[in-house]
Protein backbone atom coordinates (compact mmCIF):
# COMPACT_ATOMS: atom_id res chain seq x y z
CA UNK A 1 0.00 0.00 0.00
CA UNK A 2 2.74 2.36 1.09
CA UNK A 3 4.83 1.38 -1.91
CA UNK A 4 1.92 2.19 -4.20
CA UNK A 5 1.52 5.55 -2.52
CA UNK A 6 5.17 6.36 -3.24
CA UNK A 7 4.79 5.20 -6.82
CA UNK A 8 1.77 7.46 -7.31
CA UNK A 9 3.75 10.39 -5.93
CA UNK A 10 6.61 9.62 -8.28
CA UNK A 11 4.10 9.55 -11.12
CA UNK A 12 3.17 13.14 -10.26
CA UNK A 13 6.76 14.21 -10.64
CA UNK A 14 7.48 14.29 -6.92
CA UNK A 15 11.10 13.18 -6.64
CA UNK A 16 12.98 12.33 -3.48
CA UNK A 17 15.15 15.41 -4.13
CA UNK A 18 12.11 17.68 -4.15
CA UNK A 19 10.81 16.20 -0.90
CA UNK A 20 14.24 16.53 0.69
CA UNK A 21 14.47 20.14 -0.41
CA UNK A 22 11.05 21.00 1.00
CA UNK A 23 11.97 19.20 4.22
CA UNK A 24 15.16 21.25 4.50
CA UNK A 25 13.13 24.47 4.21
CA UNK A 26 10.67 23.33 6.89
CA UNK A 27 13.44 22.11 9.19
CA UNK A 28 15.40 25.37 8.82
CA UNK A 29 12.28 27.36 9.64
CA UNK A 30 11.46 25.39 12.76
CA UNK A 31 15.05 25.22 13.97
CA UNK A 32 15.31 29.00 13.65
CA UNK A 33 12.15 29.36 15.71
CA UNK A 34 13.47 26.90 18.24
CA UNK A 35 16.77 28.78 18.34
CA UNK A 36 14.95 31.76 19.84
CA UNK A 37 13.87 29.61 22.78
CA UNK A 38 17.33 28.07 23.11
CA UNK A 39 18.92 31.51 23.05
CA UNK A 40 16.54 32.91 25.66
CA UNK A 41 17.58 30.12 28.00
CA UNK A 42 21.24 30.47 27.08
CA UNK A 43 21.13 34.23 27.56
CA UNK A 44 19.54 33.97 30.98
CA UNK A 45 21.90 31.26 32.14
CA UNK A 46 25.04 33.04 30.87
CA UNK A 47 23.82 36.33 32.34
CA UNK A 48 23.26 34.60 35.66
CA UNK A 49 26.71 33.04 35.48
CA UNK A 50 28.35 36.40 34.73
CA UNK A 51 26.47 38.06 37.57
CA UNK A 52 26.99 35.15 39.98
CA UNK A 53 23.33 34.21 40.19
CA UNK A 54 21.54 30.92 39.53
CA UNK A 55 19.33 32.06 36.69
CA UNK A 56 16.12 30.19 35.88
CA UNK A 57 15.97 26.85 37.77
CA UNK A 58 12.36 26.28 38.82
CA UNK A 59 10.56 25.30 35.61
CA UNK A 60 11.68 21.85 34.54
CA UNK A 61 15.10 20.30 35.20
CA UNK A 62 17.70 23.10 35.53
CA UNK A 63 15.03 25.56 34.39
CA UNK A 64 15.09 24.11 30.88
CA UNK A 65 11.35 24.67 30.42
CA UNK A 66 11.66 28.38 31.24
CA UNK A 67 11.49 29.58 27.57
CA UNK A 68 8.26 27.60 27.16
CA UNK A 69 6.79 29.31 30.22
CA UNK A 70 7.92 32.68 28.82
CA UNK A 71 6.21 32.01 25.50
CA UNK A 72 2.96 30.88 27.14
CA UNK A 73 3.02 33.97 29.33
CA UNK A 74 3.52 36.21 26.27
CA UNK A 75 0.73 34.49 24.37
CA UNK A 76 -1.83 35.05 27.10
CA UNK A 77 -1.06 38.72 27.56
CA UNK A 78 -3.45 41.31 26.26
CA UNK A 79 -2.72 42.75 22.83
CA UNK A 80 -2.61 46.51 23.36
CA UNK A 81 -2.56 49.27 20.79
CA UNK A 82 -2.21 52.96 21.63
CA UNK A 83 -5.22 54.98 20.53
CA UNK A 84 -3.07 57.43 18.58
CA UNK A 85 -1.11 54.69 16.81
CA UNK A 86 -1.28 54.16 13.07
CA UNK A 87 -3.34 50.97 12.81
CA UNK A 88 -1.95 49.44 9.64
CA UNK A 89 1.75 50.16 10.09
CA UNK A 90 1.57 49.30 13.79
CA UNK A 91 0.70 45.72 12.89
CA UNK A 92 2.82 45.49 9.74
CA UNK A 93 6.05 46.53 11.48
CA UNK A 94 6.59 43.43 13.67
CA UNK A 95 5.65 41.15 10.75
CA UNK A 96 8.21 42.90 8.58
CA UNK A 97 10.89 42.53 11.23
CA UNK A 98 10.30 38.81 11.73
CA UNK A 99 9.90 38.05 8.01
CA UNK A 100 13.14 39.80 7.10
CA UNK A 101 14.96 37.94 9.89
CA UNK A 102 13.78 34.54 8.68
CA UNK A 103 14.24 35.34 5.00
CA UNK A 104 17.87 36.36 5.50
CA UNK A 105 18.77 32.90 6.77
CA UNK A 106 17.26 31.19 3.74
CA UNK A 107 20.39 31.63 1.61
CA UNK A 108 22.86 30.55 4.31
CA UNK A 109 24.37 27.13 3.56
CA UNK A 110 25.00 25.08 6.68
CA UNK A 111 26.56 21.83 5.55
CA UNK A 112 28.39 20.07 2.75
CA UNK A 113 26.34 18.63 -0.11
CA UNK A 114 24.81 15.37 1.04
CA UNK A 115 22.63 12.54 -0.20
CA UNK A 116 21.26 11.87 3.32
CA UNK A 117 22.47 8.26 3.26
CA UNK A 118 23.85 8.86 6.78
CA UNK A 119 20.46 9.97 8.06
CA UNK A 120 18.66 7.04 6.46
CA UNK A 121 21.28 4.64 7.82
CA UNK A 122 21.49 5.81 11.41
CA UNK A 123 17.86 6.76 11.98
CA UNK A 124 16.65 3.30 10.99
CA UNK A 125 14.49 4.87 8.30
CA UNK A 126 15.68 2.45 5.63
CA UNK A 127 14.70 -0.61 7.68
CA UNK A 128 11.27 0.90 8.35
CA UNK A 129 10.82 1.60 4.66
CA UNK A 130 12.07 -1.82 3.57
CA UNK A 131 9.48 -3.32 5.90
CA UNK A 132 6.91 -1.66 3.63
CA UNK A 133 8.69 -2.95 0.56
CA UNK A 134 10.39 0.32 -0.35
CA UNK A 135 14.15 0.48 -0.83
CA UNK A 136 15.65 3.87 -0.06
CA UNK A 137 19.27 4.31 0.93
CA UNK A 138 19.75 7.96 0.06
CA UNK A 139 19.17 10.45 -2.73
CA UNK A 140 20.42 9.64 -6.22
CA UNK A 141 22.56 12.80 -6.22
CA UNK A 142 23.66 14.99 -3.32
CA UNK A 143 21.79 18.24 -2.70
CA UNK A 144 22.94 21.48 -1.11
CA UNK A 145 22.22 21.92 2.57
CA UNK A 146 20.59 25.33 2.36
CA UNK A 147 17.02 26.51 2.03
CA UNK A 148 18.00 28.26 -1.21
CA UNK A 149 21.33 28.03 -2.99
CA UNK A 150 21.78 31.42 -4.65
CA UNK A 151 24.81 32.52 -6.69
CA UNK A 152 24.75 35.98 -5.17
CA UNK A 153 23.86 34.81 -1.67
CA UNK A 154 25.89 37.49 0.09
CA UNK A 155 24.14 40.30 -1.76
CA UNK A 156 20.76 38.75 -0.98
CA UNK A 157 21.61 38.65 2.73
CA UNK A 158 22.75 42.25 2.55
CA UNK A 159 19.55 43.27 0.75
CA UNK A 160 17.26 41.50 3.19
CA UNK A 161 19.02 42.85 6.28
CA UNK A 162 18.59 46.34 4.88
CA UNK A 163 14.85 45.58 4.66
CA UNK A 164 14.84 44.62 8.33
CA UNK A 165 15.48 48.25 9.29
CA UNK A 166 11.98 49.15 8.15
CA UNK A 167 10.36 46.95 10.76
CA UNK A 168 12.07 48.91 13.51
CA UNK A 169 11.66 52.35 11.95
CA UNK A 170 7.98 51.83 11.16
CA UNK A 171 7.35 50.42 14.64
CA UNK A 172 8.94 53.53 16.11
CA UNK A 173 6.91 55.88 13.95
CA UNK A 174 3.53 54.14 14.03
CA UNK A 175 3.44 53.83 17.83
CA UNK A 176 3.07 57.62 18.02
CA UNK A 177 5.13 57.77 21.18
CA UNK A 178 8.25 59.87 21.68
CA UNK A 179 10.30 57.00 23.10
CA UNK A 180 9.39 54.71 20.24
CA UNK A 181 10.14 57.39 17.65
CA UNK A 182 13.53 58.15 19.19
CA UNK A 183 14.32 54.44 19.31
CA UNK A 184 13.33 54.01 15.67
CA UNK A 185 15.38 57.01 14.55
CA UNK A 186 18.41 55.85 16.49
CA UNK A 187 18.24 52.37 15.10
CA UNK A 188 17.98 53.53 11.50
CA UNK A 189 20.91 55.93 11.95
CA UNK A 190 22.92 53.19 13.63
CA UNK A 191 22.15 50.54 11.05
CA UNK A 192 22.93 52.84 8.13
CA UNK A 193 26.24 53.82 9.72
CA UNK A 194 27.39 50.32 10.51
CA UNK A 195 26.06 48.73 7.33
CA UNK A 196 28.94 50.41 5.47
CA UNK A 197 31.68 48.77 7.53
CA UNK A 198 29.67 45.54 7.52
CA UNK A 199 29.53 45.55 3.72
CA UNK A 200 33.21 46.45 3.34
CA UNK A 201 34.27 43.55 5.54
CA UNK A 202 32.18 41.30 3.26
CA UNK A 203 33.85 42.82 0.21
CA UNK A 204 37.36 41.84 1.35
CA UNK A 205 36.29 38.20 1.64
CA UNK A 206 34.53 38.37 -1.72
CA UNK A 207 37.81 39.55 -3.27
CA UNK A 208 39.77 36.68 -1.73
CA UNK A 209 37.20 34.09 -2.79
CA UNK A 210 36.32 35.69 -6.13
CA UNK A 211 32.71 34.66 -5.63
CA UNK A 212 29.48 35.98 -4.14
CA UNK A 213 28.14 32.52 -3.43
CA UNK A 214 28.38 31.54 0.22
CA UNK A 215 28.77 27.88 -0.67
CA UNK A 216 31.73 28.57 -2.97
CA UNK A 217 33.31 30.79 -0.30
CA UNK A 218 33.04 27.96 2.23
CA UNK A 219 34.38 25.43 -0.28
CA UNK A 220 37.48 27.60 -0.75
CA UNK A 221 38.21 27.28 2.96
CA UNK A 222 38.53 23.49 2.93
CA UNK A 223 41.95 21.93 3.47
CA UNK A 224 44.90 22.85 5.66
CA UNK A 225 48.09 24.88 5.56
CA UNK A 226 51.09 22.79 6.70
CA UNK A 227 48.62 19.94 7.45
CA UNK A 228 47.61 21.66 10.67
CA UNK A 229 46.09 25.12 10.25
CA UNK A 230 42.68 25.03 8.58
CA UNK A 231 42.44 27.34 5.56
CA UNK A 232 39.94 29.68 7.15
CA UNK A 233 39.63 33.24 5.94
CA UNK A 234 39.90 34.27 9.59
CA UNK A 235 43.67 33.87 9.28
CA UNK A 236 43.80 35.92 6.05
CA UNK A 237 41.31 38.53 7.20
CA UNK A 238 41.69 38.96 10.98
CA UNK A 239 40.85 42.66 10.74
CA UNK A 240 37.88 41.95 8.51
CA UNK A 241 36.57 39.40 10.99
CA UNK A 242 36.85 41.88 13.85
CA UNK A 243 35.03 44.56 11.82
CA UNK A 244 32.34 42.05 10.90
CA UNK A 245 31.84 41.06 14.53
CA UNK A 246 31.59 44.64 15.78
CA UNK A 247 29.34 45.81 12.95
CA UNK A 248 27.28 42.65 13.38
CA UNK A 249 26.58 43.53 17.01
CA UNK A 250 25.52 47.01 15.95
CA UNK A 251 23.36 45.61 13.13
CA UNK A 252 21.49 43.32 15.49
CA UNK A 253 21.05 46.12 18.04
CA UNK A 254 22.70 44.15 20.82
CA UNK A 255 24.58 45.51 23.81
CA UNK A 256 26.95 47.36 23.96
CA UNK A 257 25.25 48.97 20.95
CA UNK A 258 21.61 48.50 22.00
CA UNK A 259 20.63 52.15 21.67
CA UNK A 260 17.30 51.58 19.94
CA UNK A 261 16.11 50.07 23.22
CA UNK A 262 18.29 51.75 25.83
CA UNK A 263 16.15 51.16 28.92
CA UNK A 264 17.45 54.03 30.99
CA UNK A 265 16.80 56.59 28.28
CA UNK A 266 13.97 55.29 26.12
CA UNK A 267 11.93 52.87 28.31
CA UNK A 268 12.15 50.09 25.71
CA UNK A 269 12.78 52.06 22.52
CA UNK A 270 10.95 51.11 19.36
CA UNK A 271 8.88 48.34 20.97
CA UNK A 272 7.74 50.33 24.00
CA UNK A 273 4.11 50.24 22.92
CA UNK A 274 4.06 46.61 21.83
CA UNK A 275 2.75 43.78 23.93
CA UNK A 276 1.91 40.11 23.70
CA UNK A 277 2.59 38.35 20.39
CA UNK A 278 3.55 41.43 18.37
CA UNK A 279 6.22 42.12 20.98
CA UNK A 280 7.36 38.52 20.79
CA UNK A 281 7.78 38.89 17.02
CA UNK A 282 10.37 41.63 17.59
CA UNK A 283 11.97 39.43 20.19
CA UNK A 284 12.06 36.51 17.76
CA UNK A 285 13.49 38.73 15.03
CA UNK A 286 16.32 39.89 17.27
CA UNK A 287 17.39 36.35 18.12
CA UNK A 288 17.01 35.06 14.58
CA UNK A 289 19.13 37.98 13.38
CA UNK A 290 21.79 37.01 15.89
CA UNK A 291 21.79 33.47 14.53
CA UNK A 292 22.02 34.75 10.96
CA UNK A 293 24.95 37.07 11.69
CA UNK A 294 26.77 34.26 13.50
CA UNK A 295 26.03 31.83 10.67
CA UNK A 296 27.27 34.26 8.03
CA UNK A 297 30.40 34.95 10.07
CA UNK A 298 30.95 31.20 10.31
CA UNK A 299 30.58 30.75 6.56
CA UNK A 300 32.70 33.76 5.64
CA UNK A 301 35.53 33.62 8.13
CA UNK A 302 35.46 30.40 10.13
CA UNK A 303 35.36 27.92 7.29
CA UNK A 304 31.69 27.00 7.56
CA UNK A 305 31.50 23.23 7.96
CA UNK A 306 35.26 22.70 7.57
CA UNK A 307 36.70 22.01 11.01
CA UNK A 308 40.19 21.61 12.50
CA UNK A 309 39.78 17.88 11.81
CA UNK A 310 37.34 16.29 9.34
CA UNK A 311 34.15 14.61 10.52
CA UNK A 312 32.61 11.53 8.83
CA UNK A 313 30.80 12.34 5.57
CA UNK A 314 27.33 13.70 6.17
CA UNK A 315 28.07 15.03 9.63
CA UNK A 316 30.01 18.16 8.60
CA UNK A 317 27.16 20.39 9.72
CA UNK A 318 28.13 19.61 13.32
CA UNK A 319 31.17 21.88 12.89
CA UNK A 320 28.88 24.59 11.61
CA UNK A 321 26.57 24.30 14.60
CA UNK A 322 29.50 24.30 17.05
CA UNK A 323 30.96 27.46 15.53
CA UNK A 324 27.62 29.27 15.40
CA UNK A 325 27.04 28.50 19.06
CA UNK A 326 30.53 29.69 19.95
CA UNK A 327 29.81 33.02 18.25
CA UNK A 328 26.39 33.26 19.90
CA UNK A 329 28.02 32.67 23.26
CA UNK A 330 30.46 35.47 22.42
CA UNK A 331 27.56 37.83 21.69
CA UNK A 332 25.81 37.02 24.95
CA UNK A 333 29.07 37.26 26.86
CA UNK A 334 29.69 40.74 25.39
CA UNK A 335 26.22 41.90 26.34
CA UNK A 336 26.62 41.07 30.00
CA UNK A 337 30.23 42.22 30.26
CA UNK A 338 30.42 45.57 28.49
CA UNK A 339 28.45 48.68 29.46
CA UNK A 340 26.48 50.55 26.81
CA UNK A 341 28.33 53.26 24.92
CA UNK A 342 27.13 56.84 24.69
CA UNK A 343 25.22 57.56 21.50
CA UNK A 344 27.75 60.09 20.17
CA UNK A 345 30.55 57.64 20.95
CA UNK A 346 28.75 55.03 18.87
CA UNK A 347 28.50 57.33 15.87
CA UNK A 348 32.07 58.56 16.26
CA UNK A 349 33.38 55.01 16.52
CA UNK A 350 31.39 53.87 13.49
CA UNK A 351 32.38 56.70 11.17
CA UNK A 352 35.81 57.79 12.39
CA UNK A 353 37.42 54.48 13.33
CA UNK A 354 35.57 51.44 12.03
CA UNK A 355 34.88 52.74 8.51
CA UNK A 356 38.48 53.97 7.79
CA UNK A 357 39.90 50.70 9.12
CA UNK A 358 37.46 48.77 6.92
CA UNK A 359 38.44 50.82 3.87
CA UNK A 360 42.17 50.36 4.51
CA UNK A 361 41.61 46.63 5.05
CA UNK A 362 39.79 46.45 1.72
CA UNK A 363 42.53 48.39 -0.10
CA UNK A 364 45.32 46.24 1.36
CA UNK A 365 43.41 43.08 0.48
CA UNK A 366 42.83 44.36 -3.05
CA UNK A 367 46.52 45.19 -3.39
CA UNK A 368 47.61 41.77 -2.21
CA UNK A 369 45.08 39.99 -4.41
CA UNK A 370 46.20 41.94 -7.49
CA UNK A 371 49.97 41.71 -6.94
CA UNK A 372 50.12 38.15 -5.69
CA UNK A 373 47.48 37.02 -8.17
CA UNK A 374 45.63 35.09 -5.46
Amino acid sequence: MIARFFNTLAGWGVTAELVAHLLIIVVVFFILQGMAAVLVYMERKVAAFVQQRYGPYLVGPRGLMQPLADIVKLMFKEELRPKAADTVLFYVAPLLSATAAFAAFSVVPFGADTDFSWLVKYSGLSSVLSWFGVTFTGLAQPIHLAAADVDIGLLVIFAITSMGVYGIVLAGWSSNSKYSLLGGLRSSAQMISYELSYGLSFAAVIMLAGSLSLREIVDMQGGYWFHAIPKWFLFLQPVGFLIFLIAGVAETNRAPFDFPEAEQELVAGYHTEYSSLSFSLFFLAEYVNMVTVSAVATDLFLGGWHGPFPLPAGFEWIWFVVKVFALLFFYIWMRWTLPRYRYDQLMEFGWKYLLPVAVINLLVTAGVVVTMGW
Binding site: V92, I152, S162, M163
Partner: protein, 171 residues
Protein backbone atom coordinates in the same frame (compact mmCIF):
# COMPACT_ATOMS: atom_id res chain seq x y z
CA UNK B 1 4.69 29.56 -13.41
CA UNK B 2 6.87 32.44 -14.59
CA UNK B 3 3.88 34.11 -16.18
CA UNK B 4 1.91 33.84 -12.96
CA UNK B 5 4.76 35.44 -10.99
CA UNK B 6 5.17 38.10 -13.64
CA UNK B 7 1.54 39.19 -13.38
CA UNK B 8 1.65 39.03 -9.59
CA UNK B 9 4.79 41.17 -9.37
CA UNK B 10 3.64 43.51 -12.11
CA UNK B 11 0.35 44.03 -10.29
CA UNK B 12 2.22 44.80 -7.07
CA UNK B 13 4.54 47.22 -8.84
CA UNK B 14 1.74 49.09 -10.62
CA UNK B 15 -0.65 49.15 -7.66
CA UNK B 16 2.19 50.24 -5.39
CA UNK B 17 3.14 53.09 -7.71
CA UNK B 18 -0.46 54.22 -8.03
CA UNK B 19 -0.77 54.08 -4.26
CA UNK B 20 2.30 56.29 -3.87
CA UNK B 21 0.59 59.05 -5.83
CA UNK B 22 -2.86 58.76 -4.29
CA UNK B 23 -1.84 58.41 -0.64
CA UNK B 24 -2.36 61.55 1.41
CA UNK B 25 -0.09 60.29 4.16
CA UNK B 26 3.56 60.64 3.06
CA UNK B 27 4.58 57.75 5.34
CA UNK B 28 2.28 55.39 3.41
CA UNK B 29 3.61 56.75 0.14
CA UNK B 30 7.15 55.85 1.16
CA UNK B 31 6.13 52.35 2.26
CA UNK B 32 4.21 51.76 -0.97
CA UNK B 33 7.19 52.93 -2.99
CA UNK B 34 9.30 50.32 -1.19
CA UNK B 35 6.71 47.66 -2.11
CA UNK B 36 6.89 48.80 -5.71
CA UNK B 37 10.71 48.64 -5.72
CA UNK B 38 10.66 45.14 -4.25
CA UNK B 39 8.20 44.00 -6.92
CA UNK B 40 10.47 45.48 -9.60
CA UNK B 41 13.38 43.57 -8.11
CA UNK B 42 11.33 40.39 -8.40
CA UNK B 43 10.75 41.18 -12.08
CA UNK B 44 14.52 41.49 -12.58
CA UNK B 45 14.93 38.01 -11.11
CA UNK B 46 12.38 36.68 -13.60
CA UNK B 47 14.35 38.37 -16.39
CA UNK B 48 17.45 36.40 -15.37
CA UNK B 49 19.34 39.31 -13.78
CA UNK B 50 19.62 38.43 -10.08
CA UNK B 51 22.52 40.83 -9.55
CA UNK B 52 20.49 43.81 -10.74
CA UNK B 53 17.63 42.61 -8.53
CA UNK B 54 19.81 42.50 -5.41
CA UNK B 55 21.32 45.90 -6.21
CA UNK B 56 17.84 47.33 -6.76
CA UNK B 57 16.85 46.30 -3.24
CA UNK B 58 20.12 47.27 -1.57
CA UNK B 59 20.35 50.73 -3.14
CA UNK B 60 16.78 51.84 -3.82
CA UNK B 61 14.58 49.93 -1.41
CA UNK B 62 17.27 49.77 1.26
CA UNK B 63 19.49 52.83 1.34
CA UNK B 64 17.57 55.58 -0.43
CA UNK B 65 14.14 54.84 0.97
CA UNK B 66 15.50 54.69 4.53
CA UNK B 67 16.64 58.28 4.01
CA UNK B 68 13.19 59.21 2.66
CA UNK B 69 11.59 57.64 5.70
CA UNK B 70 14.04 59.43 7.93
CA UNK B 71 13.15 62.81 6.45
CA UNK B 72 9.41 62.18 6.65
CA UNK B 73 9.75 61.10 10.27
CA UNK B 74 11.96 64.04 11.24
CA UNK B 75 9.71 66.60 9.58
CA UNK B 76 6.80 64.73 11.17
CA UNK B 77 4.47 65.56 8.32
CA UNK B 78 1.29 63.82 9.35
CA UNK B 79 -0.62 64.86 6.27
CA UNK B 80 0.29 66.24 2.90
CA UNK B 81 -2.00 69.22 3.47
CA UNK B 82 0.18 70.37 6.34
CA UNK B 83 2.69 71.35 3.70
CA UNK B 84 0.14 73.32 1.67
CA UNK B 85 1.51 76.68 2.79
CA UNK B 86 5.01 76.00 1.60
CA UNK B 87 3.95 74.00 -1.42
CA UNK B 88 1.74 76.71 -2.96
CA UNK B 89 4.53 77.75 -5.29
CA UNK B 90 4.48 74.39 -7.10
CA UNK B 91 0.83 73.61 -6.41
CA UNK B 92 -0.58 76.51 -8.48
CA UNK B 93 -2.43 76.27 -11.77
CA UNK B 94 0.60 77.20 -13.94
CA UNK B 95 3.00 74.53 -12.67
CA UNK B 96 0.19 71.99 -12.73
CA UNK B 97 -0.48 72.58 -16.42
CA UNK B 98 3.23 72.39 -17.10
CA UNK B 99 3.38 69.10 -15.20
CA UNK B 100 0.44 67.74 -17.18
CA UNK B 101 2.20 68.56 -20.46
CA UNK B 102 5.40 66.94 -19.23
CA UNK B 103 3.61 63.77 -18.19
CA UNK B 104 1.96 63.56 -21.62
CA UNK B 105 5.37 63.88 -23.25
CA UNK B 106 6.69 61.12 -20.98
CA UNK B 107 3.71 58.92 -21.87
CA UNK B 108 4.39 59.49 -25.57
CA UNK B 109 8.03 58.59 -25.13
CA UNK B 110 7.16 55.44 -23.23
CA UNK B 111 4.65 54.31 -25.86
CA UNK B 112 7.20 54.98 -28.59
CA UNK B 113 9.99 53.15 -26.79
CA UNK B 114 7.86 50.17 -25.78
CA UNK B 115 6.36 49.77 -29.25
CA UNK B 116 9.89 49.37 -30.61
CA UNK B 117 10.38 46.47 -28.20
CA UNK B 118 7.77 44.33 -30.00
CA UNK B 119 9.14 40.85 -30.33
CA UNK B 120 12.43 41.63 -28.60
CA UNK B 121 13.64 38.89 -26.24
CA UNK B 122 12.99 39.60 -22.57
CA UNK B 123 16.10 37.85 -21.30
CA UNK B 124 19.42 39.74 -21.34
CA UNK B 125 21.26 39.54 -24.64
CA UNK B 126 23.94 36.88 -24.40
CA UNK B 127 22.03 34.84 -21.86
CA UNK B 128 22.55 34.46 -18.14
CA UNK B 129 26.29 35.16 -18.34
CA UNK B 130 25.67 38.68 -19.66
CA UNK B 131 23.95 39.60 -16.40
CA UNK B 132 26.63 38.15 -14.13
CA UNK B 133 28.58 40.26 -11.68
CA UNK B 134 31.82 39.89 -13.61
CA UNK B 135 30.38 40.99 -16.93
CA UNK B 136 28.61 43.98 -15.41
CA UNK B 137 31.79 45.00 -13.59
CA UNK B 138 33.92 44.77 -16.73
CA UNK B 139 31.39 46.76 -18.75
CA UNK B 140 31.12 49.39 -16.04
CA UNK B 141 34.83 49.92 -15.46
CA UNK B 142 36.12 49.34 -18.99
CA UNK B 143 33.55 50.34 -21.60
CA UNK B 144 31.62 52.88 -19.56
CA UNK B 145 34.40 54.01 -17.22
CA UNK B 146 34.00 57.68 -18.13
CA UNK B 147 30.24 57.75 -17.61
CA UNK B 148 30.68 55.88 -14.33
CA UNK B 149 33.29 58.30 -12.99
CA UNK B 150 31.28 61.30 -14.21
CA UNK B 151 28.26 60.04 -12.28
CA UNK B 152 30.27 59.71 -9.11
CA UNK B 153 31.54 63.27 -9.51
CA UNK B 154 27.95 64.41 -10.06
CA UNK B 155 26.86 62.79 -6.81
CA UNK B 156 29.81 64.33 -5.00
CA UNK B 157 28.82 67.76 -6.33
CA UNK B 158 25.28 67.23 -5.07
CA UNK B 159 26.61 66.23 -1.65
CA UNK B 160 28.91 69.24 -1.36
CA UNK B 161 26.08 71.48 -2.53
CA UNK B 162 23.72 70.10 0.12
CA UNK B 163 26.29 70.71 2.85
CA UNK B 164 26.97 74.26 1.65
CA UNK B 165 23.23 75.01 1.60
CA UNK B 166 22.53 73.45 4.98
CA UNK B 167 25.56 74.88 6.76
CA UNK B 168 25.05 77.91 8.95
CA UNK B 169 27.77 80.55 8.60
CA UNK B 170 29.69 80.86 11.84
CA UNK B 171 31.26 84.22 12.59
Amino acid sequence: MDTLFFWLLAAFAVMGSIGVIFQRNPMYSVVLLIVSFCALSGLYVLLGAPFVAAIQIIIYAGAIMVLFLFVVMLLNVGHEDALAGGMRAIGGAGPRRFGAVLSLVLLGELVWALSRLQGAPLAPRGGQAAASVGTIGLKLFRDYAFAFEATSVLILVAMVGAIVLARKERP
